[in-house]
């Protein structure tokens, strides 16, 4: 058991634990905070996977924007009576069964794959993933189109969200 493996296990356990708390606590604000923790754990894992840009992007976008947005919405949609009540709906047993079943299925299917237990290959020297990513995103022979489309999508979402939430008094 190497250091990397132990570190990985620790981070993974933390993330999973946070995730579990997200879906089970009663207080929604607490759930949002646990979400932030889980997202942070994900960012650390991105670092382990040598995707530095993604780790930063994860922190900035997810934790910095999306989670805050979620907290705003929680605040805006609270009932006057703050009593959260039960947080699981009537069919939570079925949902649990399904979730577990899907997980088991997933793992079983994965175990059929022969290369599942490989270790990471060595990165080449002077490997600048960030530069490569940047170039790929603007390269006409690369991924400029999805990049542009993603920006259009964001614009549309922006406008749409404003319109939907505008509300007429």
């Amino acid at each position: 058991m190497t250091v990397q493996q132990i570190l990985f296990l620790l981070v993974a356990a933390g993330t999973l634990g946070s995730a579990f708390m997200v879906v089970s606590v009663r207080n929604l604000v607490h759930a949002a905070l646990w979400l932030i923790a889980a997202l942070g754990g994900i960012a650390i894992l991105f670092v382990f996977l040598s995707a530095g840009f993604l780790a930063v992007a994860q922190v900035v976008i997810y934790i910095g924007a999306i989670s805050i947005l979620i907290i705003f919405t929680i605040m805006l949609t609270r009932n006057v009576a703050i009593d959260p009540g039960k947080q699981m709906n009537s069919s939570w047993v079925g949902a649990l069964i399904i979730a577990v079943a899907l997980f088991v299925l997933n793992v079983l299917i994965l175990s059929q794959w022969s290369e599942i237990n490989k270790t990471a290959p060595v990165l080449p020297a002077q490997y600048d993933a960030l530069r490569l990513l940047g170039l790929a995103l603007v390269n006409p022979n690369g991924y400029v189109l999805p990049f542009e489309l993603a920006s259009v999508l964001l614009l549309a979402a922006l406008i749409g969200a404003i319109l939907i939430a505008w509300g007429r008094r």
């Binding site: 976008i61 793992v107 270790t119 964001l154 922006l158 509300g167």
Partner: protein
């Protein structure tokens, strides 16, 4: 040293957790949080597979970036919808938003 299988099993567990949250939580915002967890699990998968299978290419990371962008857009629209619904129905409990029943 960490085999790929650990990452993928981890991602699967995260995904299932998020799924449970989507299916079992009452509040709409809580459901959205579950969706976020699922998207992140997918991202982990993507990046892990990129790192372990095709590290010279960059497609995996690009894809992960796009996923993040899309998730952001989706959250924005979804929360706007929740606010709009809250204004009308004074509730964001999923069970009570059941106009599409028979």
């Amino acid at each position: 040293m960490v085999p790929l299988s650990w990452y993928m099993i981890f991602a699967a567990a995260l995904f299932s957790t998020g799924l449970f949250g989507v299916l079992a939580r009452k509040n709409a915002v809580a459901i959205l949080m579950g969706v976020e967890l699922m998207l992140n699990a997918v991202n982990i998968n993507l990046v892990a597979l990129w790192r372990y299978r095709t590290p010279e290419g960059i497609a995996g990371q690009v894809w992960a970036v796009i996923v993040i962008a899309v998730a952001a857009a989706e959250v924005a629209v979804g929360l706007a919808l929740f606010i709009s619904v809250y204004r009308r129905r004074k509730t964001v409990v999923a069970d009570e938003i059941d106009l599409m029943k028979w």
